[in-house]
Subunit: 169 residues, 2 copies
Amino acid sequence: MANAEDNLLDWLRDAHAMEQQAETMLQKTASRLENYPTLKARLESHIDETREQARLVKSCIDRRGAGTSAMKDAAAKVAATAQGLSGLFVSDEVVKASMASYTFEHMEIASYRSLIAAAEAVGDGETARICGQILQQEESMAAFLAEQLPQVTRQFLQRSETPGATAKH
Amino acid sequence: MANAEDNLLDWLRDAHAMEQQAETMLQKTASRLENYPTLKARLESHIDETREQARLVKSCIDRRGAGTSAMKDAAAKVAATAQGLSGLFVSDEVVKASMASYTFEHMEIASYRSLIAAAEAVGDGETARICGQILQQEESMAAFLAEQLPQVTRQFLQRSETPGATAKH
């Protein structure tokens, strides 16, 4: 048995760790890109959003009166997942990186959808509102990545066949 | 430099390994669930779809005249990712499992969106058609999981607070 408030707090900690990991992954990906300016620019603007999202989630944790002692566990778990995603998307090539970003966005989307339900269940309207706001940003980023993916794929294939061109990033 | 046909073939191999891993993850999750019958039933029907998807992707690989010698590498990479996802969603609880399934579905969605563009780029209409068909199934499964997630979250929280009830699965 665990009460709903404790579950909500655990999940907020997971979400905070997830946003920190998102920032790391986005920075790594964006910094490598040279030949895909549209994608690079959108990733960079999402880094700013992501930092603000981490701050907002932290504000929910603080408002609920919890310390950060359990934050380390959550961070370690998320790091393992991000490692796995990079394992699949082992190459630093743009197509895999786009797919990894899109996948990670949906981990975030799932988290916030669940968090909204949990916050509403315990009557924490402010946390629900903040999570709803972040959810919209994540959905917008995911939609951008989905839309770009076919074009990024075509560009990558073309550049791969062009002597002297760098296709990967 | 790599030609587009070689890239397409590599990506089809990745997709095949991904479907095999999806089957394993879905079976593990579905077999554990006891108190969430709607979710369990949908996961089970998606296991059948997933097996058929693996067969279809394999048919594209075979039709393109490639052997399966490079299949092992792809499988190892996907296994690492799935491990990472289970690392994050370390508990066997239903909320985390739903989130992991939803996230994995989007890795599949990204793969098929990219594969469709790649298949079209090399003029392989049959592969594009098959990937389009699979993409619809993945999107439908993802939509189901997204829709279920708030309700699964609420049920989990309620069961967690109920003495004698099992909330986790």
